[in-house]
């Protein structure tokens, strides 16, 4: 079941990438980026279960703790008309 889940989530990342490319505004792209990040987080946990390697979860913690900073900076950049 876990293998099926990892295949399905991989396909869903590819589908979300289409929304990032065709999205009419830049905020749509930002939303797609956020969703791709959370999908990758799920994939790392699943792969860590498949391969039975606990140290891969450290990378998942890094994604969860650090990944939001760039999204917040881009959002503020767009709101304040080009100032950080």
């Amino acid at each position: 079941m876990i293998e099926v889940a990892s295949y399905l989530i991989t396909v869903l990342i590819a589908i979300t990438a289409i929304r990032i490319i065709i999205g009419p505004t830049v905020w749509d792209r930002l939303l797609g980026f956020n969703i791709v990040l959370s999908k990758i987080l799920m994939l790392i946990v699943l792969f860590s279960m498949i391969f039975d390697k606990t140290y891969l979860l450290d990378i998942a913690i890094t994604y969860a703790l650090i990944g939001f900073v760039s999204t917040l900076f881009i959002a503020r950049f767009l709101k304040d008309r080009g100032r950080i």
Binding site: I40, I59, G67, S70, G82
Partner: protein, 178 residues
């Protein structure tokens, strides 16, 4: 199988991040590229490199790109249409307005970063906001462009387009009282 899908995604994002004319889009594409490439490092069996790429490429490099884009001046264009109550989404994605394409070409030539905002507020209401450079209001087929006199990019746009004799474009320049 999973690796091949990720390789295709990487190639697509690398291509679009180079090809797009707007730099703010390119920053988002590069952030997605870094996040996906960090996962492919895990699949190849290099967790150390994946950790470094996830921190450096996806966070710090993105913020530094944004700080570099700060030097690029942003040109705010409001597009308002008083007759229509709301903007349709298809209207934005298909880009029917040819004047917007002309404004974007002008901005790319002068190294400005255009940010176009669709709104339904009236012109006077937009003018109360602090930051605007150009307001395009559509009035039964004619375009009326509002600008300020001390903004020399708008004056250059006016000079360039008045030479070409565009008929349906009219400029209203607001003078500063000081």
């Amino acid at each position: 199988m999973i690796e091949k899908i990720f390789y295709v995604i990487l190639i697509i994002f690398a291509f679009f991040s180079v090809q797009t004319p707007k730099l703010r889009r390119s920053v988002v594409y590069l952030a997605v590229f870094s996040a996906v490439s960090a996962f492919t490092y895990i699949l190849m069996g290099a967790p150390d490199a994946a950790l470094a790429e996830a921190v450096i490429g996806s966070t710090i490099a993105t913020v530094i790109y944004l700080a570099a884009l700060n030097k690029y001046r942003v040109f705010m264009v409001y597009l308002t249409d008083e007759k229509r109550e709301r903007h349709q989404e298809e209207h934005i994605s298909r880009r029917k307005e040819s004047i917007l394409l002309a404004i974007e070409n002008f901005c790319i030539l002068r190294e400005l970063e255009p940010q176009i905002i669709y709104t339904v507020d009236s012109v006077d209401k937009i003018k109360e906001k602090p930051g605007w450079d150009l307001i395009v209001s559509k009035n039964s087929g004619n375009y009326v462009l509002h600008g300020r006199e001390q903004n020399y990019h708008v004056m250059a746009l006016k000079e360039e387009w008045e030479g070409k004799q565009r008929k349906q474009v009219e400029f209203i320049i607001e003078k500063e009282h000081e």
